[in-house]
Amino acid sequence: MITINVTDRDGQLHQVQAHPNDKLMEVLREFDWGVAAICGGMCSCATCHVWVAEAWGDKFPAREMDEEELLEFLDGFKPGSRLSCQLELRDQHDGLVLELAPDE
């Protein structure tokens, strides 16, 4: 198990347990404060948008083109913006810090 630190849209901090190999989105959608993830992980909708803290940004593979295209015109787009359906958790992500972006 690894622990990830998530700030929700109300600024509340949550410590969440996850398994390595879990998709981050599938972990986050289990919570009442979590992501909507409407398309179910198909990289089609941008409703699982998170901001990964700067220190953790390079611990994931870079955004692919389709993810980049969905994100870049959102009002909440930042350097740390990711679609959590595209992020697979590994042991090295123990302690990961991220924040949920607002729904748009």
Partner: protein, 404 residues
């Protein structure tokens, strides 16, 4: 007086109403009635990841089973609504039990149109109605197996792509003169049709099916023109209709679906509808609409939960849809209207392209193939009704961000 919300239907919309009620702080009873025995699941993967055996069935679950218990959502499985007495505020289920409610959410979704031809009941003929049927069909899709797909809508074309990817010989039979005619703009439909043909799918247009032949199990499909196609399996996808027959004797007003106002409320004050079963006048669309999509089910589900809890939210979400066939990603938002001008935007570097449907400078729809950026900008422009310059849209070197 009970403090109980009964949700009829445990698909994407029904589950969302239940979640929304608890997220909104409702502390009465929540009863979620599902006609299937599986833990409620999402359907889009059925024609793709499940058929292609990429996902285990459990991965389709919308929430784990424990979620319902943890949130005190009483999940009834294997039962459906039988009769509604709106005056008594009581619903009778197929197991004979009756439930008083303080609020009712109708999320019974859509049922399949059946193909009225002899032989449609043979073994080996599938409709992809549910997870069990998807798993059964998936087991049939082996290298070299011959599959006929009757009906070239989204489901049919997704199944064709999945089956072809698994090495099946696939024939698609469609009565209209183009695939996906109901929803895709002509140039997108023809592009996808040609893509399927390049992948080795045979597509027969303008042809009805006369009969399905077999001896207990399906063996061939006979077309209206007399041609007979030998098959090992058949998948029928000829559309759906809202599941409202059970409401026929009730006081709830229906037409094509359950008629609801902008708050997703029916003609009866404490009865709401969400998802594929609801029919409403959407401010961004023309006339009464039944929207069959995951996005609509989730968004309306959330809204119904909020309104049951005393909100007065109005449904204005821009509808959006997606489909995946091979490595082709089709993303759509809004719905083009007849008389709209179609503007094409091409991306020579990637091969992606989009069509924007406009009346003057007001966008009604966007449909993109492998061009997510166009789709995202279009979706925002449609929602905000911001005027968009057609020349700028057509020029792939222009920065669409300038339009927002």
């Amino acid at each position: 007086m009970v403090n109980r919300i009964v949700i009829l239907g445990a698909g994407q919309a029904g589950v969302q109403v239940a979640i929304g009620l608890r997220q909104g702080g409702f502390n009465g009873e929540v009863v979620l009635v599902g006609k299937e025995t599986h833990v409620p699941y999402q359907r889009p993967p059925l024609s793709k990841q499940i058929l292609k055996k990429e996902w285990a069935a459990e991965r389709c679950q919308l929430r784990h089973l424990e979620f319902y218990e943890q949130h005190q959502i009483q999940l009834l499985q294997g039962v459906s609504a039988r009769a509604l007495d709106a005056a008594k505020q009581q619903i009778v289920l197929s197991d004979g039990s009756s439930w008083a409610y303080s609020g009712l959410a109708i999320c019974t979704g859509a049922g399949l149109n059946r193909l009225p031809v002899p032989g449609a009941e043979l073994a080996g003929v599938y409709y992809l109605r549910d997870l069990d049927e998807a798993l059964e069909l998936s087991a049939q899709l082996r290298q070299g197996a011959r599959l006929a797909v009757i009906g070239a809508g989204y489901i049919g074309m997704e199944v064709a792509a999945s089956a072809r990817s698994l090495g099946c010989e696939v024939t698609v039979i469609e009565a209209q003169d183009e695939i996906m005619q109901r929803s895709a703009v002509p140039a997108i439909a023809s592009y996808l049709r040609e893509f399927h043909a390049q992948q080795g799918v045979r597509i027969v247009l303008r042809s009805g099916v006369k009969q399905i032949h077999g001896d207990g199990r399906v063996q061939s499909v006979e077309l209206a023109n007399g041609e007979t196609i030998a098959v090992d399996g058949v998948m029928i996808g000829v559309g759906v209709r809202p599941e409202i027959a059970w409401l026929a004797d009730s006081a709830v007003q229906t037409n094509r679906g359950v008629r609801v106002d902008g708050h997703c409320r029916s003609n009866i004050e404490n009865i709401y509808a969400a998802g594929d079963v609801a029919e409403l006048e959407h401010p961004l669309l023309q006339g009464w609409q039944v929207l069959e999509s995951v996005q609509n089910a989730v968004s309306q589900g959330n809204l119904v939960a909020a309104n049951i809890l005393g909100g007065e939210q109005t449904y204005t979400e821009t509808p959006w849809f997606w489909s995946e066939q091979y490595d082709q990603r089709l993303q759509m938002a809004g719905i083009p209207r007849s008389g709209d001008t179609l503007i094409r935007r091409e991306h020579p570097a990637t091969g992606g392209f989009s069509y924007f449907a406009l009346q003057g400078e007001i966008m009604h729809g966007v449909q993109s193939i492998n061009a997510a950026r166009d789709y995202m900008v279009g979706r925002q422009l449609i929602g905000k009704q911001t005027p968009a310059n057609p020349a700028l849209l057509a020029d792939h070197t222009s920065n669409l961000k300038d339009l927002l």
